[in-house]
């Protein structure tokens, strides 16, 4: 009864070479005789080979979901179902992993078992947003698969015009650079937004990402509407003995080339005794010198987060980087995390109320202006928000004195 493995001469080319081959994996699944997923995979291999031959894709969308939720399943129906009926439905369940992508083998094995039973056996670890993508599910299997995955303690990720699955770097779990607990922040935010993830009703998608420092290993700055990045306010920590050791290791000239000369703000000087001179006022917390001298240098002790807002990809006005919204916020106590969650909600509410259809947060801010966005969120203006002041005189400044008053007020209240 079971169909033969389709002929896939083009795909077979992708079994060659040293890198692990997804084709070999697909074939392995297609060959696991007797299992329903083998049949699905035969169809899939056939359709994919057809795509390679014709250089076209053959999936179309649709609406498939699970009870109680409005999103999380990416429906895929084949346009060439008559040729490859076994994979005519090939939906994906987006499931959110634990922040930082940690697993024990028990969990992973259980997931494999579920997906062998209810799906194609093909799992992506992970999607670019951070979901586990259980790919290749027939419509009627979506709910049972989901029930089991949900039963394991996992929940559905985002899709459509809602809050999306978040991502965070490994953070304090295994990185000395982490200036705050990325994993806890991730969890706090996401678990307070489940409603907006599961029942999307925003103008467009909204993504959060969490990186422990400016190295931004979670790609937050450009790929999240809300990027939470670790930083510090006080002086960086310097172990001069280790500095000397590093100078010795690299040689003086190379140390100057690789560390001193590469500081973006010329905040570093090498003293004659091979110790380091740090102008902390000029340092922009870029992490470079700390990255190179992992033993000698560390972020300061007064740590917290900066929030950048508005990052996104091309549609419709062109790519946007996130820009500074909150230059610093402590992130240590439970209260701090609650404040972050509150701010997240305020951002979401403002977005929901003010964005146009299919407009991302960054585009909305571009349209209404940062000042209005700040006002809407009741956030104070800060010089760190700009890379430079305006260069154009086309602005009506008759509220100048009032704004000066506000600034002085904020400043003196900060000084208190």
């Amino acid at each position: 009864m079971s169909k033969k493995l389709p002929s896939t001469p083009m795909l077979d080319e992708l079994e060659k070479g040293p890198w692990p081959s997804f084709v070999t994996g697909l074939k392995r699944l297609a060959k696991s005789e007797g299992k329903p997923n083998a049949e699905i995979m035969k169809g899939l291999l056939g359709q994919l080979e057809h795509s390679y031959q014709t250089r076209k894709g053959y999936w179309k969308g649709g609406t498939v979901g699970v009870f109680g939720y409005g999103a999380g399943v990416i429906a895929r129906f084949s346009e060439v179902a008559s040729q490859f009926p076994e994979s005519s439905e090939f939906h994906t369940l987006r499931i959110m992993p634990a922040p930082g992508f940690f697993y024990d083998t028990k969990t992973l094995r259980e997931m494999c078992d579920i997906w062998e039973e209810h799906g194609s056996g093909l799992i992506a670890l992970h999607g670019q947003s951070g979901d586990i993508m259980f790919q290749g599910c027939r419509t009627e299997q979506v709910q049972p698969a989901w029930d089991k995955l949900n039963g394991m303690g996992f929940d559905m990720g985002g899709a459509g015009a809602g809050v999306r699955t978040a991502a965070s770097c490994v953070g304090p779990a295994r990185c000395e650079q982490a200036c705050y607990d990325t994993l806890t922040a991730h969890k706090s935010i996401i678990n307070s937004f489940t409603d907006d993830i599961h029942r999307p009703s925003l103008p467009y998608k909204m993504k959060f990402k969490f990186s422990g420092c400016a190295n931004d290993c979670a790609n937050a700055t450009q790929r999240a509407d809300v990027a939470v990045l670790g930083t510090w306010r006080d002086d960086m920590q310097v172990d001069q003995t280790e500095v000397k050791a590093k100078v010795k290791q690299l040689g003086r000239k190379e140390f100057i080339n690789q560390v001193i000369r590469m500081c973006p703000t010329q905040a570093l000087g090498l003293n004659d005794d091979d110790t380091l001179d740090v102008d902390n006022k000029s340092c922009v917390r870029c992490m470079h010198c700390i990255n190179v001298c992992t033993k000698a240098l560390k972020p300061g002790k007064d740590r917290g987060i900066a929030i950048l807002v508005g990052g996104k990809r091309t549609l419709k006005i062109g790519d946007l980087m996130g820009t500074v919204l909150v230059p610093f916020m402590k992130m240590e106590t439970e209260e701090d995390f609650e404040k972050l969650v509150e701010l997240g909600h305020a951002m979401l509410d403002f977005f929901a109320d003010n964005a146009l259809e299919h407009e991302r947060t960054g585009e909305m801010i571009e349209r209404i202006g940062l000042a209005n966005y700040l006002e809407g969120l009741d956030l104070p203006l800060d010089v760190n928000m700009i890379s430079q002041p305006r260069t154009n005189s086309y602005v009506r400044t008759d509220g100048w004195d009032e704004e000066v008053r506000k600034w002085n007020e904020t400043k003196s209240s900060a000084a208190e």
Binding site: L14, G17, W19, P20, F22, R28, L29, S51, Y52, R55, K56, G57, F67, G68, Y69, I74, R76, A98, P99, G100, F101, F102, D104, T105, L108, R109, C112, I123, H126, Q128, Q143, P144, D147, G151, G153, F154, D155, A166, P172, A173, R174, L183, K187, N191, N219, N257, M262, P264, C286, M287, H288, N291, V292, T294, K295, L315, K316, I317, G318, M321
Partner: protein
């Protein structure tokens, strides 16, 4: 069929339950790290305890057998724990230094290249493509596999000036994000409209609103409401295609591959940068995209030979200048490289800084 059951709206699970116990013990207490060899990280805690991480490449799109193999290895070496990186590499952690060598050997034997650490070429950001997406111009999995085959040595060694982050995107939406090198579909012809289907499938005002250059207008075709495209304006971006599949943008010949360089998310040294177009018009040559691989390898080799330690791709080019980049990589420079999008003037050379 299972009973309809209310979901447990649990959100994300707690991470610590899955973490290697040494990570839990030293959570937030890491003091420093180094890399004893390519593919291996050593993180040392304030307590003095060291954790060794061995990192390996995967195909991301994994069959359950592959995952189970990874689990077997984690069971054997890592007390049953493992993690994946933001770039779909897999990481195995152990406190036992003597286990590092056998762990590496086991991984390599099982077909997982060990590397991707430090200043190497990491795994390529992977998107969906023909395997799953509804709008792809190419197959991400294939492009990634074909390229990683070529770059595996650069993955396994740390011979690059800095980390190299490569991304692919199988349509111009670019789920892959910014990259030191980005390999993206670039359509070159306006969508071909299947007028018979438009009225049935597409919400016309929504489609019209999606076009970044306002090239779409409502039209009556054969007496039926449809859409038409002002081909002079159209920039062939494909943004109209997801909301309106009858506006077929994908084409076996005219959907080409473009290569972009110098993107960067980190704020390390320089501010984050967008990647910049360097090559276009490359054929979408499945199954192994040799023309793409050639350009990518040429760029990588030039970068490797010429950049200074810690310069990311974009930083290196900023220093040596774009004229020299095009010269050294032997890539042609065309009018299409000159930015014409809003604010594009900022990408003209407004100075007497010249490279000869």
């Amino acid at each position: 069929m299972s009973e309809l059951r209310r979901p447990n709206e649990t959100g994300v699970p707690d991470s610590k339950q899955f973490m290697h116990p040494a990570l839990v013990r030293n959570y937030g207490k890491w003091a420093w790290h180094d890399r004893p060899q390519a593919g291996v990280l050593r993180h040392v805690s304030e307590s003095g305890e060291a954790v060794y991480t061995v990192k390996a490449g995967t195909q991301r799109q994994m069959d359950v057998f592959t995952i189970r193999t990874l689990c077997d290895i984690a069971d054997k070496f890592c007390e049953g724990h493992l993690r994946f990186t933001t770039r779909s590499s897999v990481e195995f952690m152990t406190t036992d230094e003597t286990q590092v060598k056998p762990l590496i050997e086991t991984l390599e034997k099982a077909g997982f290249p060990v590397g991707g650490t430090g200043n190497s070429v990491g795994f390529i950001s992977h998107t969906q493509g023909w395997l799953h997406c509804d709008i792809p111009g190419t197959d991400a999995s294939g492009v990634v596999k074909a390229l990683m085959d070529e770059l595996v040595d650069e993955f396994k060694n740390e011979d690059m000036p800095n980390r190299v982050k490569i991304t692919t995107s199988c349509c111009q939406i670019n789920c892959g994000g910014q990259g030191d090198i980005a390999i993206n579909v670039q359509h070159t012809k306006p969508p071909v409209i299947n007028h018979a289907l438009v009225s049935g499938v597409c919400e016309r005002p929504a489609v019209i609103a999606r076009c970044p250059v306002a090239a779409i207008r409502p039209a009556l075709v054969d007496g039926k409401p449809s859409l038409e495209v002002d081909e002079k304006k159209c920039v062939c971006c494909g943004a109209c295609y997801p909301p309106c599949p009858p506006m077929q943008i994908n084409d076996p010949v005219n959907s080409k591959i473009a290569i972009w360089v110098g993107g960067k998310h980190s704020s390390t040294r320089s501010k984050p940068m967008f990647h910049k177009l360097v090559a276009a018009g490359l054929p979408n040559n499945a199954p192994r995209w040799p023309e793409v691989a050639e350009v990518v390898k040429k760029i990588l080799a030039t970068y490797k030979a010429d950049a200074r330690p810690w310069e990311r791709m974009g930083e290196w080019i900023e220093r040596i200048g774009w004229p020299r980049f095009f010269e050294m990589t032997d890539l042609p420079f065309t009018k299409y490289h000159v930015d014409t999008w809003r604010g594009g003037r900022a990408n003209l050379n407004a100075s007497a800084h010249l490279h000869f």
